[in-house]
C-alpha cells in the first residue's frame, strides 16, 4: 500500500481522499521524504496562520472524559498579538495574553494572576529547521481531507516512532490554514485530548475582534504577580543542574530562573524538546509540600522527585515514561 494511503485512524474518521485531490497529492508526494515535507509545510502554514490572522470563534475541548466549550479571539496588529480565551462552561475563566503579560482571571475566587508573557509565545512556532532529526522521531503524512465546522480541511497525521512522545492529528483549513481541529493520540493511538472549532470568523486586514475582559475587575480581586520588576537581576541560572542522559532524544531548548511569588526562593525551569513535543523541568528548594511520584492531568504528565534537597518536577504533554525518565536523570554537577 502506498505511503499516502496508509492510515491508522479508526474506521469512519477522516480517512478518505476525494478523487480530485489524489492526483494533486500524488504529484507532490511521490516519496516518503516528500510526503513528510508536504505534511510539514501544512503544519508550518497552520503555525503562521494561527499567529498572523485575526479570528474569533468557539471551540470545544475534550479531555479526561470532560467536554468544555471555549471562546477565542485573536488578532495581530502593529503592536503585536493579543489573544483572549474564555471558558464558556461554569465559571467564566479567562486567559488574556498580549506582548507584555499573561493574565488569568478566576471570577468565582476573585483572583487575577499576572505573569510575564514570553514574546512570541502565542500559538506555537513551528520551525522545521531540522527535518531529518524530526523524522527520526516522527512519521508525518497527509491523511486526506475532511470537513470541520463547515470548512474544508486537510488532515495531517504526525505519528511517533517510539514510546517517548504522543501522536497528533491536525485538521487544517484549506483556505486560510487555521487549525480547525487537533487530536492528541496516546501510545495506543487513542484520542486523549481534542480541540475542535464549532464556529470561526476570520477578520480582514482592517478589522479585528473586540477583546475585553468579561468580569469588571475591581478592588475585591486579589492580584497575584508571578514576577517582580527587578527580576531581571535575579535570573542567573544554575548550570549545575543537568540531565545525565537524554531519554527519547529530547534536548535542552532553554533555561530560565525566576522568583517564586511570595518567597525569596527561586525556581529554575529547563525546557526540553524533540522539535515538536516538549517538557519542562522545574527545580526549587524542597519544602514541606514537596512530594515524590507521578501525576497527570489529561494528556499532561508530571513526575516529582526529591534530589539534593531540591524538588524536581518534570511536566509536559508527553507520555508518563518520558517525564519519569527525564526527572530521574536530573543530577547536580558542581563545576
Amino acid at each position: 500500500m502506498p505511503a499516502l494511503m496508509r492510515n491508522s485512524s479508526p474506521p469512519g474518521r477522516a480517512n478518505y481522499l476525494p478523487r480530485a485531490v489524489i492526483p494533486l497529492l500524488l504529484a507532490s508526494c511521490v516519496s516518503a521524504p516528500a510526503l513528510a515535507d508536504e505534511a510539514m509545510q501544512w503544519v508550518q502554514k497552520m503555525s503562521d496562520a494561527m499567529r498572523g490572522l485575526s479570528y474569533s470563534g468557539n471551540f470545544v475541548y475534550m479531555h479526561d472524559n470532560q467536554l468544555e466549550s471555549m471562546q477565542i479571539s485573536h488578532y495581530r496588529d502593529a503592536d503585536g498579538e493579543k489573544e483572549h480565551l474564555v471558558s464558556l462552561n461554569g465559571e467564566a475563566r479567562e486567559v488574556i495574553r498580549d506582548n507584555q503579560n499573561l493574565t488569568c482571571i478566576w471570577p468565582s475566587s476573585r483572583k487575577v494572576v499576572v505573569d510575564l508573557s514570553r514574546k512570541n509565545s502565542f500559538s506555537p512556532i513551528f520551525i522545521p529547521d531540522d527535518i531529518a532529526r524530526l523524522e527520526k522521531f516522527y512519521d508525518m503524512r497527509l491523511l486526506g481531507m475532511d470537513r470541520i465546522a463547515n470548512h474544508n480541511t486537510v488532515v495531517v497525521h504526525i505519528e511517533p516512532r517510539d514510546i517517548y512522545r504522543y501522536g497528533i492529528k491536525f485538521w487544517i483549513n484549506r483556505d486560510n490554514h487555521l487549525m480547525m481541529k487537533s487530536s492528541l493520540l496516546d501510545e495506543q493511538n487513542r484520542e486523549i485530548e481534542q480541540v475542535m472549532f464549532t464556529s470561526l470568523r476570520v477578520y480582514g486586514d482592517d478589522e479585528k475582534p473586540v477583546i475585553d475582559t468579561l468580569p469588571k475587575i475591581d478592588e475585591s480581586y486579589t492580584l497575584v504577580r508571578y514576577h517582580r520588576a527587578d527580576s531581571s537581576n535575579s535570573t542567573e541560572v544554575d548550570n549545575a543542574w543537568q540531565l545525565s542522559h537524554t531519554p527519547g532524544g529530547f534536548w535542552r531548548e532553554s533555561v530560565l530562573r525566576r522568583m517564586i511569588p511570595g518567597t525569596e526562593d527561586f525556581v529554575q525551569q529547563m525546557v526540553y524538546t524533540d522539535g515538536l513535543a516538549s517538557l519542562s523541568v522545574f527545580i526549587e528548594r524542597k519544602t514541606s509540600e514537596s512530594l515524590s511520584g507521578a501525576t497527570s492531568m489529561g494528556a499532561v504528565n508530571g513526575y516529582m522527585r526529591i534530589h539534593a534537597n531540591h524538588s524536581i518536577t518534570a511536566i509536559g504533554e508527553v507520555p508518563a515514561i518520558t517525564v519519569k525518565e527525564v526527572a530521574e536523570s536530573i543530577t547536580y554537577r558542581q563545576q
Binding site: S47, Y61, M70, G90, V95, R118, S182, L291
Partner: protein
C-alpha cells in the same frame, strides 16, 4: 392568577385529579391560558433537552385540536366510567401531555419563568394580539441571540469539574504549584499542539 398558574403547572406535571375536566374547560375557553400552557410545555422540553430544532409557533392550534379530541372521548367514557370504575382518569396524562409525565418542574421555578412571559392583557376568551406578537418577537430574538461578551451566565447549581491534577495526596498548594508550572511550561515551550495548551490553562479548576 397565582392559583391558576399553579393549577396549570400541576395539570402539566401529571398531578391532574377529578377536577381536571373543569380545568380543561377553562383552558379551552381561554386563549391566553393556551399560550401559557404552551410555555409550560416548552419549559419542560428545555429542561429535558427535548426542544425541537425548530420551534413551531402554531403549535397551540394542534394542541387544542388534540385537547378537544381528548375531551370528546373523555365525555363519551365518563358515564360508563362512573359505574365501572370509581377512580378518576388522569385525562391529560394519557393524551398529548403524556410526554410531560414525570416532569419535575418546581412550581416556583415555572412561575418565575412564566412571569417573564406574562401578557399585558388578561382578558379571557379572545386572542391577545399583543401577546402573540410578543411571543413571536421573543422567539425570534431567542433564535437570533448571540453570546454576548458582557453577559456570560455562570452556573451556580452544578459544580464544574474543571481541570485537576491526579495526585495521591490531596493538596491544594501542590495543585496550585503544578498549575503554575503548567502555565509556565505552556508559555516557554513550543509544543505544536494547536490550541490544546491554551485550552488546558483556561480549563483549570475554578476552586484551585
Amino acid at each position: 392568577m397565582k392559583e391558576r398558574d399553579e393549577k396549570l403547572s400541576y395539570l402539566l406535571d401529571d398531578y391532574a385529579d377529578e377536577n381536571t375536566p373543569g380545568d380543561l374547560d377553562e383552558v379551552i375557553g381561554d386563549v391566553n391560558l393556551q399560550y401559557r400552557m404552551r410555555r409550560y410545555q416548552m419549559i419542560g422540553e428545555v429542561m429535558r433537552h427535548e426542544l425541537p430544532p425548530v420551534i413551531d409557533t402554531g403549535f397551540h392550534a394542534a394542541v387544542m385540536a388534540r385537547v378537544a379530541q381528548e375531551v370528546g372521548a373523555a365525555q363519551e367514557r365518563k358515564p360508563r366510567a362512573a359505574f365501572d370504575s370509581p377512580a378518576p382518569t388522569p385525562l391529560l396524562s394519557r393524551g398529548i401531555f403524556k410526554p410531560l409525565a414525570g416532569l419535575a418542574v418546581a412550581a416556583s421555578v415555572a412561575i418565575v419563568t412564566v412571569a417573564l412571559w406574562q401578557p399585558q392583557n388578561q382578558d379571557a376568551g379572545r386572542p391577545d394580539a399583543g401577546l402573540v406578537a410578543a411571543d413571536q418577537l421573543k422567539i425570534q430574538q431567542l433564535a437570533e441571540q448571540k453570546i454576548a461578551g458582557s453577559a456570560v451566565p455562570v452556573s451556580t447549581r452544578v459544580p464544574t469539574p474543571g481541570t485537576r491534577w491526579k495526585i495521591d495526596k490531596e493538596s491544594p498548594a501542590l495543585q496550585q504549584k503544578l498549575n503554575a508550572y503548567l502555565v509556565n511550561h505552556t508559555e516557554y515551550s513550543n509544543s505544536v499542539q494547536g490550541l490544546i495548551p491554551q485550552a488546558r490553562v483556561a480549563g483549570f479548576d475554578a476552586q484551585q
